[in-house]
Symmetry: C2
Amino acid sequence: MKEDKTHDDGSRTRQSPENKVHENPVQKNYVLEDFVKENKVLMAHGGGGRAARSLIQELISPVFDNPELSRLEDAARIPGIPGNNPRVVMTTDSYVVTPRFFPGGDIGKLSVCGTVNDLVTTGARPAALSVGFILEEGFSLKELEKIIKSMKQTADSVPVALITGDTKVVERGRGDGIYITTAGVGILPEGVFLSPDNIEPGDAVLINGPIGNHEAAIISVRDKFSLGVEVVSDCTPLARLITKITEAVPEVRCARDPTRGGVASILIELVESSGYGITIDEDKLPVDEPVSNLCEVLGMDPLYMANEGKMVVIVPENQTKHCLEVMRSVPAGKRSTVIGSVTKDKPRLVVNTPYGSSRVVTMPKGEQLPRIC
Amino acid sequence: MKEDKTHDDGSRTRQSPENKVHENPVQKNYVLEDFVKENKVLMAHGGGGRAARSLIQELISPVFDNPELSRLEDAARIPGIPGNNPRVVMTTDSYVVTPRFFPGGDIGKLSVCGTVNDLVTTGARPAALSVGFILEEGFSLKELEKIIKSMKQTADSVPVALITGDTKVVERGRGDGIYITTAGVGILPEGVFLSPDNIEPGDAVLINGPIGNHEAAIISVRDKFSLGVEVVSDCTPLARLITKITEAVPEVRCARDPTRGGVASILIELVESSGYGITIDEDKLPVDEPVSNLCEVLGMDPLYMANEGKMVVIVPENQTKHCLEVMRSVPAGKRSTVIGSVTKDKPRLVVNTPYGSSRVVTMPKGEQLPRIC
């Protein structure tokens, strides 16, 4: 299948160390070409990379033509709620992860964590979730029960209420057991709204712990052969982390959860939307040993790997120490650290290597791994 | 496939006229048996009938254990929004209709109408929609563009804003082109909350036009052989209809949109939740000729057929004439009529036939047609 071959080539090349220094020419206009030539949906369109962004920016966003949607943030403010405008935010994500159960979580837990974490990137407090199930005929009801119990347990831990839902069934061969779409509504406390618009040169870039664990966990269960070691997904709701930060560090600029496309993709989105540069130090990026081992074996880059319990937080430089202390006081933030800073340079993501050199990191074309979430 | 055979038998039997008089014994505990014996998802679980309700009431609802969810209404109130509690409502539905394009609509228009209509059953004004796309690898981007343009056009006609979304892609053979899950948030005007709890004996049961058109439209395109006539779906957003009613008839009790399972299913839900009986006159049920012809041919009952632009409205008896005038002043309500009334009888749905006899109508087991919405 042409596009898959291209897709794989693209990703491999992008990820192999020796190719990080410059952008891979093979990828130039890859997506636009496909739009024209193939004009069909590719697996890459579901990734966190350039293909997915073209689909949204060139096809979906222009049609829907809504200012909140066009901001392409993880959550959007709902207009016109009397007395609260615009303090109610909404988000949605569909979850198609395979396998449905993985070390550290399952599609149910993921469907709550992912949507809660999108909500809280704005600083909102989660208020309610809705859930839509698309079940494949013949799917085990026992498995369904396990999954919804996992959703309930995760929602209770936030806490957030699952208040409404829907179930559809499709014929065998028209689905894959279960797909879940959760939508979330959250409330912005008075005066709180985290946004890339707040970013200033000199700001510090923080993250709440090691990166790549979710994607590594999925890989480790999909390709058992690849390594004996089992990696556990970081799949966790981060509502408490963000609440603590917004309460203790009101000057916090913005927060983003680096899921599909990893830390690289969201930092590139932040430089593009803020108009400033961001420089990070590779040796400051926290990566667990099993994850870096797996990356060595497969020639992958943790910077592009999906996380489901991580938050990149940007704060004024003089708040760095204080914010780190606050983040580390929360279980999900124990290993929080500074990874870089916002610069006056042109809007691009620069990574300083341990060898003293530096490279410009570009948006990955597709996703390194399909159906990661 | 055993369950499908049972499913079909069940439905056919349920629908064939000579069996309407009494409940079909074959169906007794059908679902519970399957839960135990097969313990897997059946197409019937996606219907508007008993199987779907068992799945929700026996499996999902007890686990999620949320008072709003347990009310099993079309939309739920969001708790804890400062100044608005509980005036913000939320709903969600997944859409898997096949074919994706049908007379009178497409999966995109349907995904906006269905969710808007669920919102307004509470009396809420639609404020925002979110959309989650699950695309199958290889799906035509041109078709996707047609579908999202249709969503936008329908949303603008409400009007309601599509403010946030997500796109996932699954491999060929793991989906069916496109599945859409929309969630909606709406605002209840001060003092407005339509609910079956408001129903009183003597209330009139109104509907805004002829029934069965959506399901008949889907059948007419799926089985072209069955009849030369093309039926057009009633797929329409009903926000304006409900706004007019709640403004002009503040005493209105409740509203329900009879989608999967048809008018029969929602009236049975209303008798169960209100504790009162409902009696309707079969000859007062508005049915377009092409639809009744199709029902004759296929032995189906319009009372169980899905609608996507209909609203059953319950008002105090003395408001009937006034409410009819208001409903008829809206394009979507031109053919509004009275079909029955709420009684002091035991909570069951009774249908008076044109022949002077009457029958108790029970919940259909599954859906007459899979993937109707």
